[in-house]
Amino acid sequence: MYKSKYFFLLPGLMVLLAIIIFPLLFTIRVSFSSWDVFQPGLDYIGGKNYGRVAHDARFWQSLLRLSVLSVSSVILQYTLGFALALAVWREMRFRRVLRVLFLVPMMTTPVVMSVIWRTIFHESLGPANDLLGMVGLAVPWLSNNVAAFIAVLIVEVWQWTPFMFLLLLAGLVSLPKEPYLAAAIDGAGPIRTFWQVTFPLMAPISIGALIIRLIEASKIMDTVYVMTSGGPGTATETSSYYIYIRGLRDFQIGYSAALSLTYLVIMIVSLTIIAKVLIRLLVARDA
């Protein structure tokens, strides 16, 4: 009877094996093959693909670009999300309506919203330049290297700030009341209360939210695909988009598997370090 409990774990383990372990092992195997448009199947070419990854400047540039994009967008999402959560945390008019409205961007399909944003940023027909034109400005949103990067950043922040908002609001709602009472008795103002009470208490959930969003942001693909195709030049080409090009457009299956695994390892290592640093900065200090 005691041992039979393991039997009940079997379906879950099988599913886990099928949907996580097998694809991962298969990808590892493929990465050591030359599978491409002309050479189907799993031959063995040793570490050639990984050697090629090491010298692929475009991949490393896309990774650097991705780092800047994901870190800056997540910081902006966190800041805005926290501000919005604080705004509707306390009693205020239309709080429920605002909560729902804030969540709308997150509930829309990224591809659809990217198409809409591409239209908004259309340089001769889009409303963004129409509005800016009132003050004599016209931004080459999608045809200038920096502007295109900012355009992608704006869409990312717009789409995913609600996610931060949701998590942080849930955290705020669950905070204990006693520290606030103590702070009020001690005469702390709202700013001091935020920095001395709210922010430290929110640290664990903030770290969780930041890491989750960093993981998601580092996979950005659809927005880039629809809005810029990685251009102008390679100004908005991210790692995932580059891997997509190599894998599904160029059909270099073996090489794109090597790129994917390299990317996976880098992300695991860097996100682990970031999490440790955040814990040390936000939690350990407080402890």
């Binding site: 491409d36 189907p40 195709s229």
Partner: protein, 510 residues
């Protein structure tokens, strides 16, 4: 459901027997004006019985090619009793969705619709078109260009259903306007005429940029081009490069030197084409440096720009019944070049009459899988898809993406009577398209294994130069280096063998 005839089951035999038959039956319920005589007309297909059999088709997303695929599949099923399944796939996924089952030996699709430039990758998996279909009335009328596109060596393995090429479109209301002609002459000292060279194209386009020359209250611009990196920009670039790099007297390769398989993409003719592409940015509308095909279509078709080139779509858009520029457009051959790089002598050769090199850029095609167990039905479907009545019907619907590819389509009267085009528009359209078919200096796609790798690499290099990240020579040197790596990976001999097929077409050896 139409009446079934349980007589014929072997397609080739059926083709021979019913070829040329004229139907007495009324098929207008299928959306055509009337059934037309032909090997695979409605009556002939109606005589077949494929009850209990299933045909699986993979095609592009609706509407381009996907919509006529589905329409004719539904009609084919109704006529023959077959079950026809159509899978629609976005363009970005189409190649891998076709190739993976073929590589793994799975009989996933009987019929495949795809870009004809993939023949270098897919030829191993495509069933030869049977002789009976090659001698069908429809096929006999296909122009040489598209028969060439359909062949791999001496074997026809693609079934022509579309004809695509890049050509110039321009606004006749501006080019023919005496005020504009006088203004242009006064300001530049040159006559305003349809550009003969890409330098002239750039000059005219730049001049007509940034002011409201059509009086609609909005600024207009000179040129709309496909510049978005992974959105068929490679075709626009090749169209611009071709007259500088395709010397009519130097054979042996446009993309590579066939003898050595050394890339030619960074030779002076190519670099000149890129320099002019970059210079043309001054004439683009706002955002024009990131225009995809859709943007180009609507920029020219919507009246924003003076000129454009690429496929038929922008022209058809401009000629829609509700278009503000309907019958104010005309077609012309792509501009040429007075100076052409001669790689045999390593010098520029001067041409008093500009060198033209029509780019027979990829179009939609179709094929039957060698793995298919329903090849008879599959070829019947394709023959029906492209029968006389269906083709004339599809040509009239711009969103279908079916463009002229038969001699019979090059009749100006058809476009005038069926679509209400004015004679000049129809005549320039027909003359331009048919003229490209007659050229002896054509450029074809790089129809070799890994074509997507080569084109994607080239597009990235061109985009980097367009964005100012690299100078033109460096950008194309980098592309050439990447092409050498691709050649090494895929194998020089395999690539040479495939590329020889392209060179044979370009050098008129077939």
């Amino acid at each position: 459901m139409m009446k079934r005839f349980q007589l014929l089951s072997v397609s080739a035999l059926a083709l021979g027997m019913v070829g040329g038959a004229v139907a007495a039956q009324d098929y207008t319920s299928f959306g055509i004006d009337r059934d037309l005589p032909g090997t695979c007309n409605y009556a002939a297909i109606d005589a077949k019985d494929y009850s209990g059999r299933t045909l699986n088709i993979i095609t592009h997303a609706i509407p381009v090619i996907g919509e006529p695929t589905a329409l004719h599949a539904q009609q084919f099923g109704a006529l023959t009793g077959a079950t026809v399944n159509v899978v629609h796939v976005p363009f970005g996924d189409l190649f891998q969705r076709i190739l993976i089952p073929l590589q793994s030996g799975k009989n996933a699709y009987d019929v495949m619709f795809y870009g004809s430039l993939w023949i270098g990758d897919l030829n191993r998996f495509l069933a030869p078109v049977p002789a009976a279909y090659q001698s069908s009335t429809g096929m006999m009328d296909v122009t040489k260009n598209y028969l060439d596109v359909a062949r791999w060596g001496d074997t026809m393995i693609q079934y022509p259903i579309d004809g695509d090429r890049n050509y110039l479109k321009y606004r006749t209301d501006i080019f023919d306007n005496p005020e504009m002609q006088a203004k242009y002459k006064a300001d530049t000292g040159n006559d305003l005429r349809v550009p003969e060279t890409w330098e002239e194209y750039n000059a005219i386009a730049t001049y007509f940029s940034g002011f409201d020359w059509d009086g609609d209250g909005n600024p207009n611009f000179g040129s709309a081009e496909v510049t978005k990196r992974d959105d068929l920009m490679f075709s626009a670039f090749i169209a611009r490069v071709a007259p500088y790099a395709k010397h009519p007297e130097v054979g042996g390769g446009f993309f590579f030197d066939l003898a050595t398989m050394e890339p030619l993409v960074n030779t002076p003719g190519w670099v000149r084409g890129l320099e002019l592409f970059i210079a043309a940015q001054k004439a683009f509308p706002p955002g024009g440096t990131s225009f995809g095909l859709g943007d180009e279509i609507f920029s020219f078709g919507g009246g924003q720009t003076l000129m454009s080139y690429t496929w038929d779509d922008a022209f058809i858009q401009a000629m829609q019944s509700d278009s503000p520029i309907r019958n104010k457009v005309a077609a012309a051959p792509l501009p040429g070049a007075n100076e052409v790089w001669n790689r045999a002598t390593g010098q520029w050769d001067h041409f008093d009459v500009p060198n033209r090199a029509p780019y027979i850029t990829w179009g939609w095609t179709s094929a039957v899988s060698t793995l298919s167990e329903n090849q008879d039905m599959a070829f019947d479907y394709l023959c029906f898809f492209s029968n006389e009545a269906n083709t004339l019907h599809d040509l009239q619907i711009g969103r279908f993406g079916v463009n002229p590819y038969r001699t019979g389509h090059f009749d100006a009267a058809f476009w005038e009577s069926q679509l209400g085009w004015e004679p000049r528009t129809a005549e320039t359209y027909v003359a331009t398209l048919s003229g490209m078919d007659d050229s002896r200096n054509r450029v074809f796609d790089l129809r070799v294994p890994g074509v997507s790798q080569f084109m994607s690499s080239m597009a990235a290099g061109v985009a980097a130069a367009m964005a100012g990240q690299k100078d033109p020579q460096t950008a194309l040197d980098d592309v050439a280096a990447e092409w050498r790596d691709i050649v090494d990976r895929i194998g020089k001999d395999q690539l040479r063998e495939a590329y020889a097929q392209v060179v044979a077409l370009e050098d008129n050896q077939q």
